[in-house]
């Protein structure tokens, strides 16, 4: 089963971490897409889509890596969830970054 796992820099301050598991011939069986932000020189995972715990879901993370909000994509197959994750990160990464920074601010 081909698996690819890599990070992709969008610019020096914004990264996406991608893992995709594919069964033959072309069935997505699992994935992780995680947007990471570099803030004050430190890299933080900000939002993560994956299939851990058996179902696709989105985790919003805080500066300590704790879950600040989980959204279950109940009933979605893995490929549909991956497609949603891609669209959501593309449309909303700036908002995720801004919200993360707002959560950091005391």
């Amino acid at each position: 089963m081909p698996t690819t796992a890599y990070t992709y820099p969008l610019d020096p301050l914004n990264w996406v971490r991608v893992t995709i598991h594919i069964a033959h011939p072309r069935t997505v069986t699992g994935f992780t897409m995680q947007y990471e932000a570099v803030i004050d020189g430190r890299t933080y995972p900000v939002v993560r889509y994956d299939c851990a715990h058996g179902y696709p879901h989105r985790d919003l993370l805080d500066a300590e890596g704790r879950n600040a909000g989980k959204l279950w994509l109940a009933g979605w197959d893995v490929a549909t969830a991956l497609d949603h994750a891609r669209k959501d990160l593309r449309a909303n990464w700036r908002a995720y970054r801004a919200d993360f920074i707002a959560r950091m601010t005391p």
Binding site: Y6, Y8, P9, D11, I20
Partner: protein
């Protein structure tokens, strides 16, 4: 206004992040269509697509690749025109394994910022690989 908070935001939004997201989407589409072809990307590597046709974007992404190379780990360079051709890909070793070569990589970074363009891709890649160690990913 708290100046610390201001510093946490990117100093300017030049649009390259969105353009890189579009390139990443293309890469993922290609992976899904032909997963075996992309299984040779080393696990945990940093992947940078080197765009064609736009000198500033080319320079931006080559600079990202060099930063990643200096930070550590393996960096896979995928020329945009060769996304589907593993023979066009390169994996660049971490120069920390070759400390004598880091200075040259930093010098190249400065040079790139001043203005090389897509036409010099081959010669630039040769210089970078000479600086950091070069290994074809496939072929």
């Amino acid at each position: 206004m708290n100046p610390t908070i201001v510093e946490r935001h990117p100093p300017q939004d030049d649009g390259y992040a969105d353009r890189n997201l579009a390139l990443l989407e293309r890469l993922i589409d290609l992976q899904l269509a032909d997963p075996d072809r992309y299984a040779s990307i080393p696990e945990g590597a940093t992947v940078v697509i080197i765009p064609s046709g736009d000198t500033e974007f080319f320079r931006h992404n080559l600079n990202l690749a060099i930063r990643a190379m200096l930070a550590g780990g393996e960096v896979v360079l995928l020329p945009e025109e060769g996304l589907e051709d593993p023979d066009a890909w390169f994996v660049v070793s971490h120069p920390a394994d070759q400390p004598g070569r880091v200075r040259l990589a930093v010098t190249l970074d400065d040079t790139l910022l001043r203005g090389e363009g897509p036409g010099q891709l081959d010669s630039l890649l040769r210089l970078i690989f000479a600086a950091s160690g070069r290994e074809r990913l496939a072929g």
